[in-house]
Amino acid sequence: MNKRLNLLPVWAAISAVIIIAGIVLMALLGFNESPERPASKTFDVYYNVVVDLNDESKAALEEYCESAFAEQGLTYSGKATLAGQSDPVSSSQGSFTATGNDFLLRYTFAADVSDEALASAKAAVEADIEGNEAFLSTTGAETYVSYDTLAQQPLTESVWRGAVAVAVAAVVALIYIAIRFGLGCALTGLIACVNDAFLTLSVFAIARIPVYAFAPMLYAAIAAAVSVVYWLIRCMKLRDDAKDPAAGTLSAQESVANACGATDKIVWLAAGILLVTIAVCAACTAATGAAAVFAGALIAAAAGLYSGMLLAPSVHVKIKAYFDGRRRVRQARYTGKKKSAKADAES
């Protein structure tokens, strides 16, 4: 007999602890959306020349900035070279065109970096530019150094609509499962689905894993879909087993254990392929910013595997036992003749 089926309190406790802690942290702190830079400071060096940009001067500006930051003990989290754009030539065009002669060298810092340090760095960079006569005389450049404090405005509609979408989709999918496999299977599937979506979100909230704003709902959707697929595999076997006349003599635990035993291999196989595929994607994009998106999906796929292997089967033992009990009570109350007996009597 599968020991895991008897450990429902353990799986429920693990899920409950993680999910409750996660919900509390989500409510208090939200997710760690540091890749979105919700609050930050930027240090800009504006550079403009009359004719064309000079790569040596650009490099010199970068050098001035970085030595000034090092002197102040400042560490930047992002560096970008922004090319200046001009308005479209005609009103029929909707896009900008590059000017080719001005750019911003922008460094991004954490929001808690002190203004004094940035001011000192600004003064140092200005002094370096001022002191380098060759730099100014050879290029005729116009430069300007400034820094700002930024606060991103949340665009929340996509987040709450994503949450509603995942919830509605899971419920509708489980109505289909209820029609095809019975109410008990749908209830277990719903529990597994909700558990996996919240478990995934909770792991991100508790571990403070950096995510883009769109990502938590994407991962919740993946966790829900994966969870439903794994549970569906179990449901198919349960339905096949139920067609066997001997199945009526088995307890709920035995039925679920048999189904799990027969389907564990394919669930492991599907989960393994999925995890390896996502891991390969993450590894191949490791040098880019996309790796974090794939790495996050690993957690969603793992959450689906957790409930597919442990939580859902043990929950279903209880739910199946309840529905089996109700069926037996209904059968005991039935006083009419069976179809076969009716047919015999008619003949």
């Binding site: 979408a165 769109f214 994407l218 959707a221 879909a225 392929i273 191949c284």
Partner: protein
């Protein structure tokens, strides 16, 4: 199936795959000095601005696409320190002193902006509370506008509490239009007249305690094919005002001017009286520009004459968020997956692996063609992830059908019977699996927005193709290819019980 028929069908099937492979993946230049370029479907497919890769018609010219554009909205009474310095440049000492007396550097002596006294700050240099309130309200309006665009990656940031920095990814046809129009603030107004200068508001009977919202209920964007239009929904009073303003249009053409604050956004010539609650304006709008204009008007219904006015700064181009080589890395990840997948199928099922290969390639090319032809689809990390999930589903489904047939064959049945019975046993299981995933994906697509919406659609579409592929195409391919083999057991690496005993 007869051998000749199988060979003919296999040749046609292979040619189809080859043609699709060529169209979807091969790009090359030709003609004198490589003047012309044949772009593959994969190359022409829209790509997320976050990925970063030169693609499309300008790819060879070194044009960089991806990334996005940012600009800063400076409110009235706020100028950048650079502009302040430029303004001082041409002045005499006396003029400089007068000019400097009107401004205070903000937030401190190293600040990046100057505030004008009496407009944005008090004489003592503190920010006026009325300015703070107006800025907060304007920031909310601008945020609403960018949110309504529903463009993946759009950002709005408050800078130093007195400026707004906006960012749009380079995925639109008119980033300039959106950035420029969204800086307009104030109340929506519709004026009528024979020319702009003499035009007067049509809301003449607006009482002091009323707003435009009492006349205009909503402004929405609609589209039909490639044409977009802006829909004004008027209240009964608004309809009456419009009817009055256009009552003489049959005799003398009337032009309606649509303003946000003091900025004219569009004008419309009317040649007959208009007495309906809904007014549709098309002009030369695309669905995207119509959405932009509708977002502007819609958020201006609640605007007031006291709103801050903004001046957008010059825009800057930002490089792609994930870095320039992300698309190439995604292709490499797909390549690794593809090689591993085919290695598994060829090792376990020998030449039956070709059946899966053909099914998978058809699935892949169908997805590429859809990604290119469906307007709102594009290649992004999220859509790639969704595609890979569906790929795993197809691989597992094909493996399940092969295993079902293998079990039947092991019982001593003929190959034809094994395939038939194997499919019969797993058909409804695979059908249920695909239907459930597709239902989840399409419902998420219908409700969610931006990145999740696109990824969900790709997952739903790919799941449908996976279902068709594994239940129909795979079986067809199996019948065609097996017909060319004299020893179907060896072809599929299946063994009957007798063989195993031997």
């Amino acid at each position: 199936m007869g051998k000749k028929k199988s060979v003919v069908l296999l040749v046609i099937y292979t040619l189809l795959i080859a043609v699709l492979c060529f169209i979807c993946t091969v790009s090359f230049s030709y003609g004198t000095d490589n003047l012309y370029t044949f772009s593959s479907v994969m190359r022409m497919m829209e790509k997320d601005a976050d990925l970063g890769l030169a693609y499309g018609a300008n790819a060879d010219a070194g044009a960089y696409l991806g990334g996005g554009y940012s600009a800063v909205y400076y409110p009235e009474g706020v100028i950048s320190a650079r502009e302040y310095a430029d303004n001082l440049d041409g002045m005499t000492d006396e003029e400089q002193a007068d000019y400097a007396a009107n401004y205070v550097r903000y937030p401190d002596e190293n600040g990046s902006v100057y505030l004008e006294k009496g407009v944005a700050c008090n004489e003592d240099g503190t920010v006026m509370s009325s300015f703070e309130e107006a800025f907060s309200s304007a920031l909310e309006t601008v945020t609403q506008r960018f949110a309504r665009l529903r463009v993946d990656g759009a950002r709005v940031e408050a800078v130093d509490g007195c400026m707004i920095r906006v960012f749009l990814p380079a995925m639109m046809d008119g980033e300039y239009i959106a950035i420029n129009l969204f800086s307009y603030t104030g109340e929506l107004d519709i004026r009528s007249g024979s020319d702009e200068a003499s035009a007067t508001t049509i809301f003449t009977d607006m009482k002091t305690d009323e707003t435009v919202a009492d006349f205009v209920q909503a402004v929405n964007a609609r589209s039909s094919g490639d044409t977009g239009y802006v829909e004004f929904v008027f209240t009964d009073r608004g309809r009456d005002a419009l009817a009055t303003a256009t009552s003489g249009a049959a005799e003398t053409a009337v032009t309606l001017y649509f303003y946000v604050g003091d900025s004219l956004v569009l004008n419309l010539s009317v040649s007959e009286a208009y007495e309906q609650n809904t007014l549709y304006i098309s002009g030369s709008y695309t669905p995207e520009t119509a959405n932009t204009v509708a977002a502007l008007f819609s958020t201006s219904i609640a605007g007031t004459q006291d709103d801050l006015t903004f001046t957008p700064s010059d825009a800057y181009f930002h490089t792609a968020l994930y870095g320039e080589s992300t698309v190439v890395m995604l292709y490499i990840a797909f390549g690794v997956f593809f090689v591993a997948m085919m290695a598994f199928f060829f090792i376990r099922y020998h030449r039956l692996g070709f059946v899966h290969l053909y099914t998978y390639l058809l699935f892949l090319f169908a997805m590429i063609l859809c990604g290119w032809s469906i307007p709102f689809l594009y290649l992004s990390v999220e859509t790639f992830l969704a595609f890979m999930l569906a790929s795993v589903l197809l691989c597992v489904s094909d493996a399940v059908t092969f295993e079902c047939a293998r079990k039947e064959y092991a019982l001593g049945k003929t190959m034809t019977s094994s395939v038939k019975t194997g499919y019969k046993k797993c058909f409804w299981k695979l059908f249920d699996l695909h239907i459930v995933v597709a239902v989840i994906a399409f419902l998420v697509y219908a409700i969610s927005l931006t990145a999740l919406q696109t990824a969900a659609f790709v997952l739903g579409l790919a799941t449908l193709f996976s279902g068709v592929g594994t239940l129909l195409v795979n079986r067809f391919g199996w019948a065609v290819m097996m017909g060319t083999s004299k020893r179907p057991g060896a072809f599929c690496n299946f063994r009957a019980e007798e063989d195993e005993n031997e």
